[in-house]
Symmetry: D2
Subunit: 354 residues, 4 copies
């Protein structure tokens, strides 16, 4: 989007399903994405928010689930989603050390837009995710402030940048530059189009493992260039958000979230010990009212036999999102001269091997 | 039922809600319970089945969940219920060593009533639960045969015996005789009556811990009689089934199943290491068709704010079910002269302490 | 401690095991507890920290586990403990809206004491727990600041106050005043004394359910006084910390954490929908070095058959901790005149029923 | 082994680590594998057992964990392993409908070799896994008998056949013939060799997804031959066993089991809805005595920073095991003429694309 050259623009098509209009998580009606990027001196970090709905999400919660493939991470808000099956705030992403500040800001934001929270009604469950950008970003200097979360929310739009933006500014992925990436697919049920969209904050893996649609791109880069695989502990992580407008129950959404792993592993992940891998899935189809207007709520769920199509869409969109996060990111020099090269630099060499 | 003197007949009322017509799990429309009891020589065991629906349950599955508070147990079928959220067979209960045979019989029973299983369609997930009745029953002699499961199914009825019957024949509970017990409550939503019913196979705990509606019955018995608390490892377990006709999602049913612990702990349980505690919850309100007739299924769920009433009903019915399982059971002499005395023997002494 | 009248001082002894020297979580060598209490105008809140070790806990992590009985809560840090089985920071407790700020402060505190975090080594997993004190405390005004966490740490000591202090200042429990409480037990293994200690932040339940060592105290209070049970949604929660010096593996510690429920339910809890119930367990016996000095680590575990004794100690200390949290707390008038009466006011009336 | 042509014999090497002597799970000292194969008329099924130790495994349990990526399956014994962290019987594998009979036989086998079970001591937790071989095998006819489990145990040896043997006789994998496969790797810690071994029962996936070490083998076969991808629901499953002699705790073993997914997904799996994916991991390094000879047990665990090497070994051995299960299996014609072709038929065509 926004004129960036994405992996599909290199001729790489993941899977058999068609992408949505933008090939982005924002193809699901009502979703917007906003970045606040910090890029000065040794500060290479930021905040990215996903606004999941055009309505007051605290009053009209979205059915949601999360799946923790590897819990080596500090993401906040998973416990209550697991229990209550609803998302009631925007989802914020930032660096590992800034989850506290961003959580505080997100709570303030929710208080401002809901004067009843904490007085006439209960509290609110902020969802804040993180990856460790400490290789490029001087993460000990608490660069992120409450204001940055508000800025990211203010910047939210349907068409948004990918790569080294927002929370993705300082991330590394599979030995190269990582960050924010997205993708979507269209599915047909009952003769109508539905959507599955993914958005990742990619920060995992080793270069020698990088695979692009089956091409051993990492080994090609290592063989053809001077680049060396970093002997660092694979301390990275990946946050995956899956959104859909298909009606599902919380249990089905958990199954959906679990399939994020397929896309991650296809690109070269192996769920390394330090690679926190947390995925969220939510649907806009079964809103859950905060206030009880009637004892029961009418919802719909997809017949289980239809899930395989959804699972393929999840695997494909996550795989493509990771590749987009890498190919859209520019080469970045961070603290102490640490450098992460853009995948874009190597695409020509890689594509020769198709 | 069937003329047995239940805990309520002693003037003990658990909680504030009213029981259903039979004060039994069978107050939920369509449920039946059947026993096959073995009682000869050192064989003190049997099979109990809960038929959850009057329809073909494989074709019209019931939404279900299970919760494992303590997994020291050999119950079968929990894994798929957790994943798919549906119950597709009757639930059978027996002794620990007989789960294999009963599973085999239950699969055969399902094959006979569904000629498509394994040929035109997939397989079936039998649910078989167990407790260890090895103190009274000579569990090494494989007393239970495939036929016994069929007999238990054949015996299923709406009004059924509690206590030392079926799978409950050889169970001990809180130092006395345990077995099968049940109870139910009526709740009002949308101006209409709904039901919560429990059924337990009780086989846990130590006498000194027994509490009856707040009365320290175990300590009273130990003080007033010659009975000694058994220095056995508390190796028992308890299986709890919760049925309801309230519309819920699988996630909500899991929350319901988790509250079985409240009733168990109120009677004196402390989740001993050897006390496998597994609970299932299912609703008859949201049937899930095996075959896909349409892409989507319409279901309903209770608003979360209504759950506390349900949770109280679960706690109360499980507590009362355990007490019924004990007070309805007759004193039983098993293998090697091992004896479990009926709670009924002590009720007079206990009630003086009210 | 510190001259407060605790439940045992009223003649109530929970269980058969002997308490440790202080009958507190600090009976485990190396543990200290600190409070920072805010008590002005409508601010009735604060921070409590448990310092789990006298050493640098990031460098010498403690084996730990957590158990989430009810995930309706915003506690932070559980995900990584579940994955890695180690505790690497003090545990902080505060009100629901202040978890972000306290998390941020705890991260800063860890950065200051560990200059390598985020540069030469990875990140750190702060553990911050919460209950909603919004009935007494004006929780929308972000009363807690980063400084308060530092103050609570600075105040940490072996003998500490219970009741309406620190994070407990604004909590309600079982219709009365709740807060911080603690208790401990001594166990013998290998002929040597070991300890189990609990600390709770109590904020759950309804008055009519209150039970004190089997006495239906809640119903007594409602019958004997003008007090009315509050028709509020039972929105409270309870945080439980279990510490021990008994050698265990992470799996065993998870089993230990799960038994917190027993103590909670004995006092009248029923795991209400809004009652977030999260327990942590850690042992000081198997320290895990952050840096790898050798490929393997020697540890010890308790034989599983010994766990029942530990489980009884957990149930008893949690039960006693809750009662201590209530009886040590003074009657508190909070925002809008909301009032929580001390259990101490009713102890005389209750004890007549023994 | 036994003269079969394995994937490595085609020049395909998975990963960078060296295999053990046999490149099999039996490279871990004490492990043996036995098959009983049924191959007549429409019976294409059997039993495979993994004997995990040369000692009495009930008396000297092995530390173990399991991970359920997709619980659409009927495997038995996972619940207690999750709770107690020990394996106390051989692991048996068979078809979905025969788990009951094989469980019963395995319990009998354990009773015979342990006269105290059920009398002086507690019960035993059989582990029986399954996949649905109903496409080739007439699964409704209960072909497997108790005797077959005994035969499989009797046949156990260190060198064993792979492919269409034992429980693998009727399995399909990635559109071709599946079955039993194995592989191992050697790792160095403390200057000494340790082993990681895998064994799979493969029965999942669609032909078009098959990938062999990065080669899109499925698409090659579909393009080059008359073979058609079956429009069947991907109803298959995969059971993975990981064995090691590296000292680990139960938590670490769970992390190990979770990495089975990496190997599965690399070969073309996407965790289809019907693909039950259950993995077990156990170590021979920390035996746990059934009887308590002392209060504490000394064990060792790997430093967490060493786990990445183990995780790579798991991913690689599972990937290679799946490929071995396919390439060692002969083309099999089953019930109603249903046919699964051996991967071996296509290896020449596939290898041209390297």
């Amino acid at each position: 989007m926004k004129g960036q050259k994405r992996i599909r623009d290199y001729g790489i098509k993941i899977g058999e399903l068609e992408p949505g209009r933008l090939n982005a998580i924002t193809d699901i009606q009502g979703i917007r994405v906003g970045h606040q990027t910090m890029d000065h001196d040794s500060a290479k970090t930021g905040v990215t928010v996903v606004i999941p709905s055009s309505e007051n999400i605290f009053k009209n919660k979205l059915m949601a689930a999360c799946n923790i493939t590897n819990g080596f991470g500090k993401s906040i808000g998973t416990v209550q989603i697991e229990e209550l099956g609803t998302l009631e705030t925007p989802i914020a992403m930032t660096n590992t050390m800034s989850t506290g500040i961003v959580t505080d800001a997100l709570v303030q934001y929710m208080l401002e837009s809901n004067p009843d929270i904490g007085l006439e009604t209960g509290t609110v469950n902020p969802v804040v995710c993180e990856c460790n950008d400490g290789n490029l970003n001087h993460i000990r200097k608490s660069n992120v402030k409450q204001k940055n979360l508000y800025d990211a929310i203010g910047n939210a739009e349907v068409e948004f940048f990918e790569g080294d933006v927002g929370a993705g500014k300082g991330m590394r992925c599979l030995g190269l530059k990582g960050g924010i990436g997205t993708s979507s697919r269209i599915l047909q049920f009952e003769g109508k189009p539905y959507h599955v969209g993914a958005l990742v904050l990619s920060n995992f893996g080793a270069l020698r493992d990088l695979v692009i649609d089956g091409i051993p791109a990492g080994r090609i880069i290592l063989n053809q260039t001077e680049v060396k695989d970093q002997p660092i502990k694979e301390q990275g992580s990946i946050i995956t958000l899956i959104a859909t407008d298909i009606p599902m129950t919380e249990r089905q959404l958990k199954r959906v979230a679990k399939r994020a792993s397929v896309g991650i592993i296809r690109t070269g992940g192996y769920i390394a010990s330090g690679s926190g891998e947390i995925a969220f899935a939510f649907t806009t189809a079964n809103p859950v009212p905060h206030e009880m207007k009637s004892d029961m709520i009418e919802i719909r769920m997809l017949h289980e036999d239809n899930l395989n199509l959804v699972f393929r869409a999840v695997a494909d969109t996550v795989e493509e999102s990771i590749l987009n996060s890498m190919v859209c990111a520019k080469t970045t020099v961070g603290r102490d001269g640490n450098t992460a090269i853009s995948l874009g630099e190597y695409m020509e060499a890689i594509l020769k091997f198709r």
